[in-house]
Symmetry: C2
Subunit: 284 residues, 2 copies
C-alpha cells in the first residue's frame, strides 16, 4: 500500500496544474488541498480492483487520480464555514483558513473539472466508449444522486437523531457512491463485478463506522482533525445511533462481509483484502 | 432565437433531476438555479454554430444544456457571500437567499457534475472519441485555466484598477472560455473552426463590455440584478477602465469583428450574426 500511496503522490503532483502557472494562488490552493495528505483509500481501491482486472498501472493511476480529485474537492467544500466549518484537515489548516473562502470555493470547483479532464484526455481504456462510461460512472458518483446528494442529506440530518437505516442511506450516498465507483470501473465478468460492488459497499460503510468510532475516542493529535466534532455539532454518527460497542462489532462484521465478497477472485484480491483490514483496523 | 430559448427551457426541465426525487431540496435548488431565467446566450451559440456545422437539434440540445449547466453553477457560486455576495439574480432572490448557503454550494457542485454526465451518457456524436473530446473541451473551459481561473483573477483584481489588456485577460478566462467552448465543439474544416473561434472571442468580450455599460446606466428594475454593483464593489469594469463612451465604441467594434469572422460561412451563419447583434444591442 505504501508503494501505491507514493506512486499516487507523484502522479497527483504531476497531473495538478503547476503552482507557477497563472492564476498561481488558485493552483497553489488546488495543490495544497490534494497533495501530502490523506490515506488515499479511493486510489488504493482503484489499484486493488485493478489487480483483479489485470489493468496496467499507468491507466489505473489516471483513474485513481480522477477519483481522488473528486474526493479532495468535496473535502474543501465540506470544510467551508457554511458547511462543517472546520479549521483542521489532515493535521493542516483547511484550505479556506490557509487561503480564503473564495479561493477555497474556486479550488474545489476547479478540482472537480480537472477530475473529468483527466478521464477525457488520457487514454485509459482500449475503447473510447469505455472511457466515456468511466466519465459517466464518476459523474453519477459525484452528483446529486451520489456524493453531493449525500452531503445534502447530511446537512438536513444535523440536530436530528437518525435510525440505523437512515444513517446507512446517508453514508451510502455521501461516501459510498465514490468508493463504489473507485472499485467498479473495470471490465470484468458480471459475477466478479457484483462481487466487487458488494465488497465496495461493505468497505465504504466500514470506513464510516470506523471514522465515527475513531472520532468518538481518538484525540485531536492522533486524528489530525478536530476530534469529537461530529457529535458536538449534533451530526448523527454510528456511535450515537447504536452505541460504541455495537459500532465496533458492526465494523468487524462489515470487514467479514468484504472478505466474503472477494471469494472467487482467488489470488487476484490480495490488495483488496489487505485494504479491508487496513480500513477497519486503522487507528487514525 | 425565441424558439431555441423555449426549446432549451423544456430540455433543461427534462434533463435536470426532477424535484420530487430525493434529496428534494437539493434538486429544487438545482432547478431554481437553472430554469426560467437567463438569456441562454451559450445555448444560442451552440445552436448558431450547429447551424454552420449542420448538426441535429437533438444533439445540439444536449451539448447546449451541458454548457448552460456549467454557466448556471458558476452563477450560483459567484453569488455566494464569500464571492460577490449578491442577493438578486434574474429578478429573483439568489439561490443561497432562497435556500441556504450550504444548499447553494452543493447545488452548484451537482450542476457541474450533471453537465459532464450529459455529455457522457447521451449519444451526441457519431464517434465516442469525438464525444470524449467534447468532455475535454468543456472541462478545460470550466477549470482553473478557464472560467474558474478567470473568477480567481477577478477576485484578486477587486479594489485594483486594471489596464485594458489586464481586463481583457480576465474576461477571456472568466466568461470567454465557456463562450468559445460553446461555439467550437463542432466538426468543421480548420479554417471554419478558426473563424468560429474569432467570432466567439469577439462576442464573448462584447458581452462583457455591454454588461459593464448596462451595469453603469441601467436601473435595478430593468436589469433584474443589482445594478451599479460592480463599480461600487471596486470591481474593475470596461467603463472604469476606458470610460463610458469608449466602452460603447468598443462594443460596436467587437460586433463588427464578429460579423467579419463569419464571412465565408455564407448562408450558414444567419443565427450567429443575429446573436452578435442581440448581444451588443440588447438593453438588459
Amino acid at each position: 500500500m505504501g508503494a501505491i500511496q507514493a506512486r499516487m503522490e507523484a502522479a497527483l503532483a504531476r497531473l495538478l496544474p503547476q503552482a507557477h502557472l497563472a492564476p498561481t494562488r488558485l493552483h497553489e490552493a488546488m495543490r495544497y488541498a490534494t497533495l501530502e495528505g490523506g490515506k488515499r483509500v479511493r486510489p488504493l481501491l482503484v489499484f486493488g480492483a485493478g489487480e483483479a482486472a489485470d489493468a496496467s498501472a499507468e491507466r489505473l493511476e489516471i483513474a485513481a487520480a480522477a477519483v481522488e480529485l473528486i474526493h479532495a474537492y468535496s473535502l474543501v467544500h465540506d470544510d467551508l464555514p457554511c458547511m462543517d466549518d472546520d479549521i483542521l484537515r489532515r493535521g493542516k489548516p483547511t484550505v479556506h483558513v490557509e487561503y480564503d473562502e473564495a479561493t477555497a470555493l474556486l479550488a474545489g470547483d476547479a478540482l472537480q473539472s480537472l477530475a473529468f479532464q483527466l478521464l477525457a484526455e488520457h487514454r485509459i481504456a482500449d475503447e473510447a466508449r469505455t472511457q466515456l462510461e468511466l466519465v459517466r460512472i464518476l459523474t453519477l458518483a459525484a452528483g446529486s444522486r451520489g456524493m453531493a446528494g449525500g452531503q445534502q442529506i447530511d446537512l438536513e440530518a444535523t440536530g436530528r437523531s437518525l435510525t440505523l437505516p437512515e444513517l446507512e442511506f446517508m453514508h451510502i450516498h455521501k461516501t459510498g457512491a465514490l468508493i463504489r465507483a473507485a472499485a467498479c470501473g473495470h471490465e470484468l465478468p458480471q459475477n466478479e463485478k457484483s462481487g466487487l460492488d458488494r465488497y465496495a459497499k461493505a468497505v465504504g460503510l466500514a470506513f464510516q463506522v470506523v471514522d465515527d468510532v475513531l472520532d468518538y475516542d481518538a484525540s485531536t493529535a492522533t486524528l489530525g482533525k478536530t476530534a469529537g466534532k461530529d457529535s458536538r455539532q449534533g451530526k448523527p454518527t454510528y456511535v450515537s445511533a447504536i452505541g460504541i460497542a455495537a459500532a465496533r462489532r458492526l465494523a468487524e462484521e462489515l470487514r467479514g462481509q468484504a472478505h466474503e465478497a472477494l471469494k472467487g477472485f482467488d489470488g487476484r484480491s490480495r490488495r483488496l483484502g489487505e485494504l479491508a483490514d487496513f480500513i477497519v483496523l486503522r487507528k487514525f
